[in-house]
Symmetry: C3
Amino acid sequence: MMSGKIKARLAELGVELPEAMAPAANYVPFVTLGNIVYVSGQVSSGSDGLIVGKLGADMDMLQGAAAARSCAINLLSQVQAACGGDLDRLVRVVKLTGFVNSTGNFTDQPKVVNGASDFLVEALGEVGHHSRSAVSAASLPFGVAVEIEGIFQIR
Amino acid sequence: MMSGKIKARLAELGVELPEAMAPAANYVPFVTLGNIVYVSGQVSSGSDGLIVGKLGADMDMLQGAAAARSCAINLLSQVQAACGGDLDRLVRVVKLTGFVNSTGNFTDQPKVVNGASDFLVEALGEVGHHSRSAVSAASLPFGVAVEIEGIFQIR
Amino acid sequence: MMSGKIKARLAELGVELPEAMAPAANYVPFVTLGNIVYVSGQVSSGSDGLIVGKLGADMDMLQGAAAARSCAINLLSQVQAACGGDLDRLVRVVKLTGFVNSTGNFTDQPKVVNGASDFLVEALGEVGHHSRSAVSAASLPFGVAVEIEGIFQIR
């Protein structure tokens, strides 16, 4: 069996998973229960640090979708850690809940969270097809644009 | 064993489940993991289309509860699809998370989400008793009044 | 095997679990699915009743963290009920989702929800280490400051 399949696919997409982020407080980044991994909410961030902004105010859709994509990358980093480094143990992205930092009249949360969903399907194929909710949050930690938590099935 | 019990009960209540809605983006409406079905957030909608509005601004409690009820109906449509059409395979509504589009000073989220909870108990009896959270969202996709996601146990 | 270990530890911390709160509506406070307990969102409350307030407006961080701590205590009350009174059956706090009633420019949700996380780790040690999301809600039921839902593994 070929190993590192998902890692290779990520490299094709130009994505190198960052070091799994430490939680911002007294909790853990993931808990594994049997073959289910519950990953803590991952905030939008990239190599330049946190991605902050509020949709409907100071951030446009493309920036928002990029922020959501970064959350998905951070989620995969945590899943990789939960899998002891071998992301090929990921069986299915089960569920994402996406919170979009937005004003009260911004209504395109789905398009923003698509930044995460599209990336996961592009990178993982069938494995990446997930159930999802996308809602607005009045505000998010540190002013980040997007926070996404996830449930993952591993082997 | 009588089949179509739940379907018959829904008919008594005058409810015909609509076609399961397609997701608004690149994800799937539900993921089944063993005997657990995770259903994507369902937005309020009826035969006339999306039910939009903001509690505390342009929508009253009764309208909000009706919107929440429509989310519950949409959730059941997805569960029916997850059960290959046989809703009698539903064992338990495990958990709902209800997001209510509301202003910052509206505090009756539970009464709104009751529109969903009351319907599920009315339609499903014991099977419909679920755990729940009800919170406000600053905004919701397409301006809908309510979005509810759910976890269901099936056989 | 010593019984009542967690109860004794709570007593050391000066915490006596209150009667598990009845839900505010037509749902149940928890649903047990195999060895997993899904606990409904618990609102901030103490011996004097509900703890109301909005972070960034009329409530400071310390008050917010105390409100979150009360949610954790209320969650444990429900878990105790789910365990038939024997909290030592709790194996792991799996996941918390914390909703903080806050203004649109308040960004310290993690510090608020730490009130719950720190308490659980202080009271339960390893068992209390959980995955978590912390987000803002535009408003919460009855105007409470914090609402937290949880997933728990029991034996």
